[in-house]
Amino acid sequence: MFALILPAVLVVAALLVGPMVLLARISLNQYSATQLMIEATTAQNYLNAVADPYYRGVMLTTLVMAFICTALTLALGFPAAYRLARMESRWKSLVTVLTLIPLLVGNVVRAAGWLGLLGNDGLINATLRGLGLTSEPLRLVYTPGAVAVGTIAVVLPYMILTLSSVIESIPRAVEEAAANLGASAFTVFRRVVWPLALPGTVAGCVLVFILCMNTYATAVLLGGSQFKMMAPAVYDQFSKGMNWPFGAALAFILLAATLVLTVLGTALLGRRYAR
């Protein structure tokens, strides 16, 4: 048994745990403008990050974006997942493939597509101007809204596929039994489908929340220079600031926040409906 998972364990250890340990070590080093990095064991980078209002703001932006995007993705994804799960077999595989297709296009390409649609010279603004409805372009891109739309578009397939596999495992007869006993469609959803789908809903939300917390390309390309989320901030420290210790500390703060919220959310929701 163990021999079977050993290769996977080794790969994970080499490609994930190794760099993480290295990064953790770097986060404890000291930054120097001249030498870039001085070997040390200090928590100063963490303290600086937490104390700095700018990075507190970035963290807040990231959290708010992740929460809003996760909630909206759930709201959009659940009905779609339900329809997909309850579909007749012939159409089902086709729709499943259609759901997967967006994943074939990278995030950067997709963000570029949104720019083409939402940008100042994009399709929407060009159309509005062409129709004489506006003279100035509407500010659609480089807004938090644009980032949210772009992010939701990226993560929605994950949510739909996770949810639909769970909903599929709920026998249709159970829903019919509720309807037969006098439950309206909404009551069937509230009393039967939702509680039974909850484990999958938690899983889908966790997955999507993690993806949202780590949004990079979408945030950079659709958010513009005024809008900053954590992942781009980390990258900035490594590439532009050359401040590796601080960047590493930011990365771990992001990781810790994601982890804590994920575990907390799972535990809370899990307990709420635990039998």
Binding site: A173, N180, L181, G182, A183, R191, L196
Partner: protein, 363 residues
């Protein structure tokens, strides 16, 4: 209040006809079983009554109210699903109480009725269990209690015994029948098991290809099948081609003359004779021949040949000193039956037989 009327109910899927102009009238407190081979439209019919499938034509009337266009939750039917379909995240008591909750029955009253329903199915000790902590038979009884507790106008059972093992099946079947009688529930049940249907139902509906072939009591169907399909489907039956020659004589196509029940309405066609109504005796001058004999413990089956016609007869296994015990394959035998045991059925293809008009039930 609890009557069910199906008036020309049909369901088409494109060109395919799943249910074809079914008429049925079930009176208060009656248990009617839909019986027929796989794919004949039993489940579709039941689900049209429950409201899960909308008929393409016809009316469903429950307690005098036309419910054809009403959604399932507005119909007041209580359905027991083949898979039981219990709510896996709710306790037994909450499962049973769900329908009362939907009907806004007050808490105290609800608890009382749930307890009563659970006592009825002898599950009061397991009220706090979850469905997955119950055996199949217990889950089945929870499903029954859940449907019963709301006193539905019509009780619907979809193959209620098919998920139980053979021993439990007969027992639970009797239990359901007893409950149904005691509570006076108007019931429509689906089964493809004729023994189940014969044992439980007041009346049976034999269906084929979406159409009703005959409606009647177990005795009606067994003794007076309307056509060859019913004769062959309900119990075993020998069907011998030929024509009536006198009041009580039937001439087989193969030449032999055999006795038959006098019935002016049936001049020719097939002679239907049940295996257990046939007497077999060793007789060197007999017209029949024994092809094989199968010893089945309490019963013995005789595979016979009468002038080229294959006939099956069944009898209680004779005592050891009975001459029939010493029969061998190829021996000549005498094959007899009393005229009333053999009925002449018109030879029409079962599918083209017009359904017998249902006898208007006494009210």
């Amino acid at each position: 209040m609890g009557t069910l009327l199906l008036d020309g109910v049909s369901k088409r899927y494109g060109e395919a006809v799943a249910v074809d102009r079914v008429d049925l009238d079930i009176r208060q407190g009656e248990l009617v079983a839909l019986l027929g081979p796989s794919g004949c439209g039993k489940t579709t019919t039941l689900r049209m009554v429950a409201g899960f499938i909308e008929p393409t034509a016809g009316r469903v009337v429950i307690g005098g109210r036309d419910v054809t266009r009403l959604p399932p939750y507005a119909r007041d039917t209580g359905m027991v699903f083949q898979s039981y379909a219990l709510f896996p995240h709710m306790s037994v008591a909450d499962n049973v109480g769900f329908g009362l909750e939907m009907r806004k029955v007050a808490r105290a009253e609800r608890d009382r009725r749930v307890a009563e329903a659970l006592r009825l199915v002898r599950l009061d000790a397991l009220a706090d269990r979850l469905p997955r902590q119950l055996s199949g038979g217990q889950q089945q009884r929870v499903a029954l209690a859940r449907a019963l507790v709301v006193s539905p106008a019509v009780f619907l059972l979809d193959e209620p015994l098919s998920n139980l093992d053979a021993k439990l099946r007969a027992e639970v079947g009797l239990e359901i029948r007893e409950l149904q009688k005691r509570l006076g529930l108007t019931t429509l049940m689906v089964t493809h098991d004729q023994d189940e249907a014969l044992a439980m139902a007041d009346r049976l509906v034999v269906m084929e290809h979406g159409r009703v072939l005959q409606v009647g009591t177990a005795e009606d169907l067994y003794e007076r099948p309307a056509n060859t399909f019913v004769a062959g489907f309900v119990g075993r039956c020998n069907l011998l081609p030929g024509a009536r020659e006198g009041a009580d004589v039937f001439r087989l196509t193969s030449g032999a003359a055999v006795p038959c029940a006098p019935d002016a309405a049936a001049p020719g066609g097939l002679l239907a004779i049940r295996p257990e109504r046939i007497e077999v005796a060793p007789d060197p001058a007999g017209a029949g021949r024994l092809r094989a004999m199968t010893y089945l413990g309490g019963r013995t089956e005789y595979h016979l040949d009468l002038a080229g016609e294959a006939i099956v007869a069944v009898s209680p296994t004779p005592l050891p000193d009975d001459p029939r015990r010493r029969l061998n394959a190829g021996d000549p035998v005498r094959i007899t039956w009393i005229p009333d045991a053999a009925r002449v059925i018109p030879t029409a293809d079962a599918a083209s037989v017009t359904p017998t008009p249902e006898k208007s039930p006494a009210r």
